[in-house]
Amino acid sequence: MKWSLNAIARLGRLFLDGAQHAGSMAFFALELAWVLIPTWSRPRDIFQQIYAAGVLSLVIILVAGGFVGLVLGLQGYNILSNFNASESLGVMVALSLVRELGPVVAALLFAGRAGSAITAEIALMKTTEQLAALEMMAIDPMRRVIGPRFWGAMISVPLLAAMFSLVGIVGGYLIGVVVLGVDQASYWGQIREQMEAWDDVAGGAIKSLAFGAVIALISVYEGYRAEPTASGMARATTQTVVLSSLAVLGLDFVMTAFMFGA
């Protein structure tokens, strides 16, 4: 009996901690919002961060995109053949990627690679008092360190997602048309007919923009609030990856229901 009471208390504690976490992040987001525009007064810093977050993630994104496209082509062909609808492979691959897989998978990969790196970097700067040094030099660390990293992440994610989808569609083409013999004209033609520029492509881009913002916020927050110890940093980076992933998936459902819902 006591055991289950403990479990319930644990659940309550988890919920309260979560709520406190969320509230803290909301305050942080407000602070950050103040400096978001002023950060652009030093565009160099932002470009530097786009490089660190976006360009350096390019390899994993493109490779993953290629593989996902190949697998989609393969599985898609298998399933569609059952209905003699293998000519629609192009549409299946393209829409799956552009609407869902591109934004979501690219975001998840980004969170794991670049998001955790951002968290670790900021946490380390906090631990070694570099952030405090900036403050005492009368420079706002939010504007100098946090802001550029937020923008870097938020700009990179939609771009990476677009490239992921593109490579994936080409991957599907390679497997479907070149290897499995789907008609080339059908592959591209059906995509051209069925994929909506506004609803699908723009919708996917909006999704990845939202994902980028969420991952950026979580990454910088966890770094900024990390405990200045080794274990604190480790915990912060883990939190970033876990929270970002969950947030992306949850947001994906909400946005999909909103945009593509019946």
Binding site: E129, Q130, A132, A133, M136, M137, A138, I139
Partner: protein
Amino acid sequence: MNNSRTNTDMIELDGVTFSRGAQVIFDGVDMRFGRGEVTVVLGPSGTGKTTLLRLIGGQVRPTNGRVLVDGAEVARARRKALYLLRRRMGVLFQNGALFTDLTVGENVAFPLRAHSRLDEALIRRIVLFKLEAVGLRSARDKYPGELSGGMARRAALARAMALDPEIMLYDEPFAGQDPVSMGVLLRLIRRLNDALGLTSIVVTHDVTEAMSIADRVIVIAGGRVIGQGTPEEVRAQREQEPALAQFLDGAADGPLNAAEEEIPLSADLGLRGER
């Protein structure tokens, strides 16, 4: 808001209380730091010496009481005023806190680039002067990772001095230093203070070394000031304060670690049925 008084105290703490959660770090303390003097703040680890520097720099606010820098109350200062105040202070952090992605030269130039519109040639000159003052001109293009601990501290000192501050705050500058580096640093602190008319506050627990360069000494323990004055005066105060005596002598037993002895070991172990 800019009233430079004619009194000799650059920094004052008036009845300052500061707690973090349940722990009381300062309990209504009064401190004075004179202009142009090197004041050493001594105390056992964990008594809030770093917190003191944070209070002066305005990074934290006292729960009660006032912290005054050149007559201005730090906690009340608004953003712009606070930043102006901070530009008059240089801080040497415990491990230097150099920016790891910039070279030493770029680190020293950083505050110059941020707060002045000087052209690059002039900035370069100033950086060279500052590095020369701490004896690190040759390390100009090295990255912080390539420096030894002592060199990193001196580089950080050069950076802290870049804007010619009036106040210098040193957070445990001698921690973990070999005797030679320590000697170099001690001499630097004293010389810079005298040559430039600074007000320096050195927070440390290295008693002998620090007392050798101090104009005034403040000893804090248990959230209060247990000794204040010139080094000779403080040494004389040992009679009245057993805690002070223990600290200055480096004695193993005394009022500073009395808490350890409240529960006898046998009770903790549960021997003889005591609990």
